[in-house]
Symmetry: C3
Subunit: 265 residues, 3 copies
Amino acid sequence: MSVAPGASLRAIREAKPLVHQITNYVVMNETANATLALGALPVMAHAVEEVEEMVGLASALVLNIGTLSAPWIESMLRAGKAASARGIPVVLDPVGAGATRLRTETALRLLDVVDVTVLRGNAGEVASLVGVEAEVRGVESIGSAESPADLAREAARRFGCVASVTGPVDQVSDGQASIAVANGHALLATVSGTGCMSSALTGCFLAGKPDDPVAAAAEALVAFGVAGEDAAEGARGPGSFHVGLYDALAALDPETLDGRARVEP
Amino acid sequence: MSVAPGASLRAIREAKPLVHQITNYVVMNETANATLALGALPVMAHAVEEVEEMVGLASALVLNIGTLSAPWIESMLRAGKAASARGIPVVLDPVGAGATRLRTETALRLLDVVDVTVLRGNAGEVASLVGVEAEVRGVESIGSAESPADLAREAARRFGCVASVTGPVDQVSDGQASIAVANGHALLATVSGTGCMSSALTGCFLAGKPDDPVAAAAEALVAFGVAGEDAAEGARGPGSFHVGLYDALAALDPETLDGRARVEP
Amino acid sequence: MSVAPGASLRAIREAKPLVHQITNYVVMNETANATLALGALPVMAHAVEEVEEMVGLASALVLNIGTLSAPWIESMLRAGKAASARGIPVVLDPVGAGATRLRTETALRLLDVVDVTVLRGNAGEVASLVGVEAEVRGVESIGSAESPADLAREAARRFGCVASVTGPVDQVSDGQASIAVANGHALLATVSGTGCMSSALTGCFLAGKPDDPVAAAAEALVAFGVAGEDAAEGARGPGSFHVGLYDALAALDPETLDGRARVEP
């Protein structure tokens, strides 16, 4: 495991991997633009008739349950199984797990049926999935009974994947090793869909580094957090911060990124 | 009835009420971000399997028919009935009523079956619902045979709710009392979805003041209008105005908001 | 055929034609706002129950297959046939044709069943439809075996429509005459949905000039390209460029637009 976001970013921009996203209506434009701004290529496709074919062209799959319905669950299952069968890395963002049974059960079903590589959620969502007491208000984590570091370790062990629990300090774990990422800015919490963007970017970094998902997940959070720090400069509120985030992602410098990482193993 | 947007805004930011929105694809990100920027928490959920559970967690429900289809109508009916049964306030935005039968009939059906608290639409849409001659081009109001003040009063009486008719001067009525709100800016008409945002914010203010829906509806329009006035300063066109709107909503000052209200009873 | 974008833009702003768009989830807000910023009125409607009625109110129809599913294909077929029957011009944007069979076959079916006026796509998509070897990565054109000018001519002949193939230099052809449009900026490729926006604007110009679709398609690309050039000034990256694009579309000056056109017959 070696966290080297600069080298990974350079590799992503050279290879321009395709990242297939089956995500929610609220953030489709935003995660597509974050993916493009980083340097990868997004594609959104959800029809049962094409998801298996599309994911076969992709280097990573991102599943996001933010605006679920029955046909989309079917598509996520099909795409996820096809990705698993071909060894394509899968990110699951369990948006709103803990708020309703449909979301909790769908996330658990996807974790059961699909070979999820990285589970990326907030503390309340991940706590709900591992059965720890937590409060989720809609899609917002209000709090949980365990620390994010413990939640990440426990979720990783329970589901046999890497768990990436984001918050003021992010925690990434494969059940053994853990990495804390302290990059980011408070303004990220004021824009809808920044969690979803971090999942999309996790897909981009996984595409470039499928054999080291702990490092890839941490690198994605470093890159996104640094972009957030840059976007916060000169922002006048959530609107201008949001715009600046795409500018900052595109301007991320592979040469200086490692030096700006605030990572603790 | 007391219009006190400053105190209401302060209360919203403290309580951070959850506002469940079943809205159209075009504006989901925009109304989510407007809700967040004001200080409340948005959640978008439309699956029949979860809308009743989700609305039970919310402090207000916003129904918006901008991109209807049969399954979404079913979800709106279920969520609306569940909200009515629990006394949760409901906002209906009849986007494009008058343009097609599906939209007019769906809006009327929701008004019939659901205990709608506030009907928030433009003059053409509201005129179409009360049977007054009007021209609606797509989702744009071109004109109506009655004044907005008369339309608001008539719609409120007809449907037994508060009617909030927005335009250059907004008119809010419960069928008896009426309030005119003159805040706002012409640039609001140049951005798609600003009407939908005003409905979302109406939901936020209703969440904090469910017992005085006339005041809540007027306060929402004052807050949104003042944010529009602030965003217009320095805007170079609809794009920068749109961005500035979120900055301005987040920067709204409860201390000065009452003094900036241009309200006439 | 006379390319006069200034006069056409002035006419659009006066008539404010309604442009019905059945488009993908990723770009709905963006194409609506681009349409509004130019000076036309967008409406998004996809329910089978209303598409025929809605398109009857419109001056142009834009079909975009970027996030297909079975019910949306049905809606596009119905709306397209209704438009054809009434002589309403239709734009088809075959997003991702060549990437999956569903997309290629749906685009070909729409071209077969609907009287498509303008086919607007990138080189990889159009090459896939005419059976020329090409690489499409998701929704991105990586390359094709024929030049864009040849592709445009061949597609126009094959499908009996105007073909508008966009890229660094756009090519518009009705199978006989051809127009090259060299307006635009490299930043357009860094924002998701700019191709879709150009299709929406093609609908706007067709609404105002239905009898000269080659000229209308070229004028749309001139207007969009000039707006892109203006938005690039002062942009700090894809986020601020995207915002500036709406400002620039709204600020397009009919007086100077013809002089800025970089068009070669």
